[in-house]
Symmetry: C2
């Protein structure tokens, strides 16, 4: 019956055709697009052009002739469309950690006199480390408050909190928080809201402008499928751009970069959030990758994503019952982003054994199996196959065989 | 006679064969490798492999299976060989601006109580902006002292200077400063020495270890030919690594990155200078590009580089005499790095008209024509051709034709 359900859901899927925009390896069901998105078909030709023609032949002339100079803004706007940001508020480049540091420090500077920086004790490690670093540099106290309690603490500490830095999605469980509510709570307390969208961009309609978010960052290599280590992005709401006072003052953000002045005068608009020369091969690959979203609305992505994660839970209920798994991801669609995590004490070897069967997910210590569902290229049939294979692994005890030792995996 | 000289110099050039390691466009003499190095022949296949096999097929498994995790250290060591750094002190990733900020701030933290940060008023703009930013964050005064006067100021301010941040090469004129002497002067004053090697790496034997440099950064896309926006590198002398306390605390620098701990514990050795996920397509391209240096000693590169720049000066003396040019680059080989700059009031249109003839250099405001000579792929015949063409442009007044208006060019 699940087989028929999967087939019917796929047959009715308006995004099914988008799968052709990706080059998926044979014999693999890829449920780790929340770590590294699959390769979009538009990328290889774009990269070959970037290497041979733009770099090899046009050389330095490509800065003007092939639009390299504008690439961070152009690509930023392409991402902006997917996160509800009107053009001119998003820039692509550097890594998430760098963008996080640069924007969080700038945000904190906009609330002088306030002594608190709130962040989530369950935030992705880098976010916590960077919050601590910014706090130390600016003399702020960093207080770790879970997302679910942040509104309450903001109200209690109104006037003291400079910035609240959160993610809408728990990177381990995929639990989704209410961005609009927390942003409103921050604003009610006079604080600024800083969002890390790594696990939200490309998953659901984020609507940064609509919820009046202040700052956001996110990575290009997860659901945006921009390639390994693809440049990150930073969003600076238009109303804050004139005050945006960031620490990594590279010359690309200067008002007149080619005047080569000895002191920094920030550029107009989002251009001041540029830092310096972006990694163009990676950036142009990402720009091509983003065309996989052409004509695709985030509402449709969200609808399919929920269908995939919901169907995974349904399959797990049926096929993994009594096999030692518990569901770590909320069943309520309003509280679920684009992944499903299962707890099992043997998470790592299970993921390793499943990978050996061609079903790729990942794990997070100590006991989480994570499965990410990119609505652009994952089908319900894939979902059923993955759960069926996981059942086969665990019932046969395949994960207890030698060779499935712990090794690093990367978010 | 210059023609015969060029031919003889090329015939005797032990690096002539290395030119085959680059894919140079037909009909172009490329003297802008100090902005963007030419495309090494090893790159296209490496990038294609990175895109199709590593990303497209192996996907997330490439972090272990294809050595992505180690790439920043591996590539850092490959650069280390070219800058006189023993393995384990150099890491590749991020942009020069980011590495500059991260290492300069860390350096300044190692000299608490000292109130001065010295930098060069003729330093590349980003370096000055970042010095100002670090000064502001740590409450240090940034004093701009020309490289030639820095030793004197260091002696006068011994005990007050935390860090001296300089480049060995003036990015406009190519003038070379004595790195060993300035490093020694900094150390005599109890200060730390921070070098920006953008215009030195791949040009001359930098010998960071031998001169006991403390910190250095540099970019991958100039003489290292790593590709447009190639990742930068950072050098942290081994003796400082245990104290290296940097602000951009991404999870890749953590002692146990996959433990996903909520607080930052820096890793051992150079690994703590890692920030986060590097732009792998760009990084793997650079790693392949660096093989152009295989078997090439920097002493040989330096010898040929001086021969090229000296021959350019000789050609200019003969062919550009009386045409309004003055030489901005020292004639003394000990004071000359890998480029030659000429002053001319019509610098921009001259460079534009010269480009139209297939000779690519660049300009810097207000009046500098810059020509960079990468010893790995530029010949003495190229040099003579470039000067001959420049003479032809200026004598015919070609640069006064329409179409050679000012547009941005990029370092």
């Amino acid at each position: 019956m699940l087989t028929e359900r999967a087939a019917a859901l796929d047959a009715a899927d308006p995004l099914a055709r988008v799968r052709d925009r990706f080059l998926l390896p044979e014999g693999v069901v890829y449920l780790d697009g929340n770590s590294l998105g699959a390769l979009p078909s538009a990328v290889p030709a774009a990269v070959e052009d970037a290497v041979h023609r733009q770099w090899g032949t046009d050389l330095i002339r490509s800065w003007n002739g092939n639009g390299w100079w504008e690439a961070p803004i152009r690509t930023g706007d392409a991402i902006g469309r997917l996160i509800g940001a009107a053009p001119g508020q998003t820039v692509a480049g550097d890594s998430t950690s760098v963008q996080l540091f640069n924007t969080l420090l700038a945000a904190a500077r906009m609330r002088p006199g306030r002594r608190l920086l709130l962040t989530d004790p369950d935030h992705f490690p880098t976010d916590q480390y960077i919050a601590d670093s910014v706090g130390r540099l600016l003399g702020l106290d960093v207080r770790r408050v879970p997302a679910g309690e942040a509104a309450e603490v903001l109200a209690a500490e109104a006037g003291n909190v400079a910035v609240a830095a959160y993610a809408p999605v728990d990177y381990r469980t995929g639990e989704l928080y209410d961005m609009a509510a927390l942003t409103a709570a921050a604003h009610s307390a006079g604080a600024l809201m800083h969002w890390d969208l790594c696990h939200a961009a490309g998953v659901l309609p984020v609507e940064l402008d609509a919820i009046q978010a202040d700052f956001a960052v996110g990575c290009g290599y997860k659901y945006l499928s921009g390639g390994p280590g693809a440049p990150a992005f930073a969003y600076v709401a238009r109303r804050h751009q004139a005050e945006f006072d960031h620490p990594i003052t590279g010359w690309h953000g200067h008002a007149e970069p080619f005047a080569m002045a000895g002191t920094y005068t920030p550029g107009e608009g989002i251009s001041r959030a540029r830092i310096s020369t972006p990694p163009l091969l990676s950036l142009l690959a990402m720009e091509a990758a983003l065309t996989a979203f052409d004509g695709v609305e985030m509402t449709a992505v969200r609808e399919k994503s929920l269908s995939l994660t919901g169907f995974f839970q349904e399959c797990a209920d049926t096929l993994l019952d009594g096999l030692g798994f518990t569901l770590a991801t909320p069943r309520d669609p309003a509280r679920r982003a684009g992944q499903v995590a299962l707890r099992h004490p043997e998470a790592y070897p299970l993921v390793a054994a499943l990978t050996a069967r061609g079903v790729i997910g990942d794990m997070r210590v100590p006991d989480l199996l994570r499965f990410g569902f990119n609505a652009l290229y994952v089908s319900h049939t894939d979902v059923l196959h993955a759960v069926t294979e996981l059942r086969a692994v665990v019932t046969a005890g395949e994960h207890r065989a030698a060779g499935f030792r712990e090794r690093p995996t990367v978010t």
